[in-house]
């Protein structure tokens, strides 16, 4: 099973509007697209999806060739599926405190 790291990081923040302005104006990230509750910013090769929630977690992303197989393998290794978007896209929380989005193209 190949987990390909995808250069996307989802960051949950408080004060969404102020946070977007700060990442764009202070840290100089490039604002690609702004939506009401989520914005896509870019810094170097890394893409950031900033969204406003109370949880304030951070998610990485891995692309896989077979999402069902990846789900099975991750569950066998103690990961919990925290959200299923589709058969080929889900969020996982690993036993060590990290969260990531797994998807199949």
């Amino acid at each position: 099973m190949k987990f390909e790291f995808s250069p996307f990081i989802a960051v949950e923040v408080k004060d969404y509007e102020k946070a977007c302005k700060y990442y764009e104006k202070v840290l100089g990230m490039e604002l690609i697209k702004k939506h009401p509750v989520e914005s896509h910013l870019k810094s170097g090769v890394m893409n950031f999806f900033v969204s406003g929630t109370e949880k304030r977690e951070m998610f990485f992303e891995f692309k896989v060739e077979d999402a069902a197989e990846a789900k099975k393998l991750l569950e066998q290794n103690g990961c919990k599926i925290t959200n299923i978007y589709s058969e080929k896209s889900f969020l996982v929380s690993d036993p060590f405190g990290l969260n990531y989005h797994i998807f199949q193209e």
Binding site: P7, Y22, G28, S43, M46, M58, G78, P95, F96, L98
Partner: protein
């Protein structure tokens, strides 16, 4: 030269300085630090299950690489993910970040510190030492 002319010249000079001040370039560094629980098991999982390349394992930190991104997995209170930015002038960056509400969580040395921003994200900001 009249007092008014001197004042005008000063104001123009200040304005010019403000206009010409180069913005700080925060360069995203392909290093991400992950603080995890059960360090040894975590290292095994990232290596064997997610297939990250283990570059070096230390007692409390392990360096992995996946694609072009470097991950430092640290034996720490879990949950914190730290992004890293390189700057040309650390002192200038520190002044700017503090003026925008960031606080220093850990000062590693004169040119390297961890900052907590007001929105819940932690950044390592550093200037390369000569």
């Amino acid at each position: 030269m009249s007092k008014k002319t001197i004042t005008d010249t000063k104001e123009k000079s200040i304005k010019k300085e403000k206009v010409e001040k180069k913005p700080i370039n925060f360069e995203f560094s392909p290093y991400i630090a992950l603080q995890v629980r059960n360090f040894d098991n975590a290292v095994e999982f990232y290596k064997d299950t997610l297939g990250m390349d283990l570059i070096k394992k230390y007692q409390k930190e392990a360096h992995f690489k996946k694609g072009k991104t470097n991950f430092f997995v640290e034996k720490q209170k879990p949950g914190r993910v730290i992004l890293e930015f390189k700057v040309e002038d650390f002192d200038e960056a520190k002044e700017l970040l503090e003026s925008k509400g960031c606080v220093i969580a850990t000062l590693y040395n004169k040119k390297s510190a961890l900052f907590l921003d007001p929105y819940g994200v932690t950044f390592h900001i550093f200037q390369e030492l000569d």
